[in-house]
């Protein structure tokens, strides 16, 4: 956790710098009231102070039980998480082209086939069923305007 705290501290410092730089584009104070730059400035300052504290504390404090804990999961778990995220990103970019039901069917099938080790038949079956149910509920009943894509539905 000490290493993680340092990483979080550095990220925090980066974010605080971003806030500070953004705040410089705007007025800090008007005649009586705070201007648009006031809040980002103070968010930047507070975040910087906390980040520095987190980093310094990670070096100074005596190692405790939590410090031995790993921040990242085991390799196979990381693979599962990474794969799910990649598939979600795929959904984000494929939906405009493939349309909502087809994207959902492919997404479900891919998860069940690749990560949950279902048979191809079962994976495709569940994929089609999930897509049909979500399409029926959200597009047909609730009339949500999803991208139609190549299938036109």
């Amino acid at each position: 956790m000490r290493k993680a705290d340092r990483i979080y501290g550095v990220i925090g410092l980066g974010l605080s710098l971003w806030c500070y730089l953004e705040s410089t584009k705007f007025t800090y104070m008007t005649q009586f009231t705070p201007g648009p730059g006031f809040m980002p400035f103070w968010v930047g300052v507070v975040l910087a102070l906390l980040s520095v504290y987190l980093i310094v504390d990670s070096f100074v404090r005596k190692p405790g039980k939590k410090d031995n804990a790993k921040i990242l999961p085991e390799k196979h778990a990381l693979y599962r998480v990474g794969a799910i995220m990649l598939m979600l990103v795929g959904v984000r970019f494929a939906m405009n082209f493939l349309g909502f039901p087809l994207t959902i069917a492919l997404f479900t099938t891919a998860i069940l086939l690749l990560l949950e080790h279902y048979s191809i038949l079962k994976s495709v079956g569940y994929g089609v069923a999930y897509a049909a149910v979500t399409w029926f509920v959200f597009q047909y009943i609730l009339s949500m305007g999803f991208p139609k894509g190549i299938l036109g539905i």
Partner: protein, 501 residues
């Protein structure tokens, strides 16, 4: 008497078939969420929220509230039958509840937890009706200076009371405040952190943040491993505890109810803290504290009553002051804003029908839940046999649909995925996401109050200490900070001494 008259009016509103159906649907979903490990009530409410956009505020809120306390009922089932808490506030139930189940008394544990939850739900709602309306009446005296100090106090309380690591909680809050500045500012109408992206002009929608950091991040964490659960079987007739057992636990249920309600009136405490505190109280008042951990009935009845009463307690600051006391009430509060309501004391004046209908629905919801949770427990428990591998793709699909529904665009889906990655790593690093969510919700309110207060005082900061209520609230923040500072210093000193020895 006003409260009773208003509540009667609330019953008249909520006793329509549609509103009753929404309460039943929320109770059903909440029980399912409570039973199935891997998704908490905050995340579920956030996922469901965009789907309710087309509904009126009252039925939508009735559904979300019954989902929230339904999850408290359902959480005990998994704790008792599988020794895996369905949600965080049922962790403590697993200690005694599962031991009782192993002794062949699963039905007694489930029954006591349902009866305790029901009693606490009803009493908690009565307390909520009286306290929230009184507090709201008092807070009508608040001006911008008081509002600023109140929001500040709310945020600090959440961190000091609920946060495990104060530094990380404060960082999370600061990031939330930063996210709250995205969009067009209220003073000069300038675009902050927008960079020409038109979707950001209205700011970051809190639904996107919640679905990413709570919804998808929770799913990712649960999906790290294959989850296989085998629940114990319970016969229908075993589900009702004997009158003797129920009578034996009467004081535990009452103590749990009081602890849960009053602790959770303080922003930041939440049902999890309340249930642990109630367990501690039961152990300390017990004549046989050494038996705790071996299957003690009070150890189930007290915490389960406590986490249900906590739901009503957490709603006091939400309804009366417009300050969310926990992640779940933050979602409810955000929902109210999305439905076009203005949370805070004026809601009791401007939207009285809505508030009293929601409160009245909580009585009805609790009745629905006791019916669902006593005879139907075996049915719900059988849900645990559905592989998690089939459940989480469905949750992810609903998240995608929810993010899309916010603005009918895929930009929001992408933003949700970014927050999901952040939320996942925040969980891994013990950085709580709740302060960030609350700061995103309350940051713009705080900025507006600061602007108005300084405008009225012609730029004088003394306005915050010259007004008695504001000064009192700021003094509480200072005292809390001092206490937390001293405690942290002493803790570090003790750790150093321990390490040296």
């Amino acid at each position: 008497m006003d409260v009773i008259t208003n509540l009667m009016g609330g019953f008249a509103t909520c006793l329509t078939p549609y509103n009753l159906a929404m309460a039943a649907l929320g109770a059903f979903l909440g029980t399912m969420v409570g039973i199935l490990p891997g998704l908490g009530p905050s995340a579920t409410m956030a996922i469901i929220l965009p789907i309710t956009f087309g509904m009126d505020a009252t039925p939508a809120m009735i559904m979300l509230c019954s989902l929230y306390y339904g999850a408290m009922y359902g959480g005990s089932t998994t704790s008792i039958l599988v020794n895996v808490p369905g949600e965080a506030s049922s962790v403590v139930t697993a200690i005694e509840g599962h031991q009782l189940a192993r002794q062949g008394r699963a039905g007694t544990a489930l029954g006591l937890s349902a009866i305790g939850s029901f009693f606490a739900g009803i009493i908690g709602t009565i307390f909520l009706a009286f306290t929230a309306s009184t507090l709201a009446e008092f807070s009508l005296k608040f001006g911008p200076a008081e509002m600023f100090s109140l929001v500040l106090m709310g945020m600090f309380t959440i961190i000091y009371v609920g946060g495990k690591d104060v530094t990380k909680s404060l960082m999370s809050m600061a990031i939330g405040l930063g996210l709250g500045t995205v969009g067009t500012d209220i003073v000069e109408g300038k675009d902050r952190f927008v960079y020409g992206i038109s979707e950001l002009l209205d700011g970051i929608d809190f639904v996107i943040l919640v679905m990413g950091t709570f919804g998808i991040a929770e799913v990712l964490e649960s999906a790290e491993e294959f989850m296989k659960i085998v629940p114990m079987k319970v016969k229908f007739w075993d589900l009702f505890p004997s009158w003797k057992d129920t009578w034996y636990c009467r004081w535990a249920i009452l103590r749990g109810t009081l602890v849960g309600f009053f602790i959770c009136c303080i922003p930041g405490s939440g049902p999890t803290i309340a249930s642990f505190l109630s367990y501690g109280v039961e152990k300390s008042v017990s004549k046989h504290p050494e038996k705790f951990g071996t299957g003690v009935m009070e150890g189930v009845a007290g915490p389960e009553s406590s986490n249900n009463a906590a739901v009503s307690g957490a709603m006091v600051p939400m309804f009366a002051l417009g300050i969310p006391g926990s992640g779940a009430t933050a979602v409810l509060l955000g929902g109210m804003i999305l439905y076009g309501l203005k949370p805070g004391p004026m809601i009791f004046v401007e939207n009285a029908d809505f508030v009293w209908a929601v409160m009245a629905s909580m009585f009805i919801g609790n009745i629905i839940l006791i019916i669902m949770n006593l005879p139907l427990v075996p049915v719900f428990a059988s849900l645990l046999r559905i592989p998690y591998g089939l459940i989480y793709p469905a949750i992810l699909i609903v998240c995608i649909v929810g993010a899309f529904a916010v603005a009918s665009g895929l930009f929001e889906v992408g933003m949700m995925l970014v927050f999901a990655v952040c939320g996942y790593f925040m969980k891994k690093g013990d950085v709580p996401a709740a302060p960030m969510l609350m700061a995103l919700l309350m940051g713009p309110m705080m900025e507006r109050s600061l602007y108005q207060a300084l405008n009225l005082s012609h730029g004088s900061l003394l306005v915050f200490i010259q007004r008695p209520i504001s000064a009192t609230l700021l003094s509480i923040i200072a005292l809390m900070s001092l206490y937390v500072g001293i405690r942290s210093f002493k803790g570090k000193k003790a750790a150093i001494q321990e390490a040296e020895e």
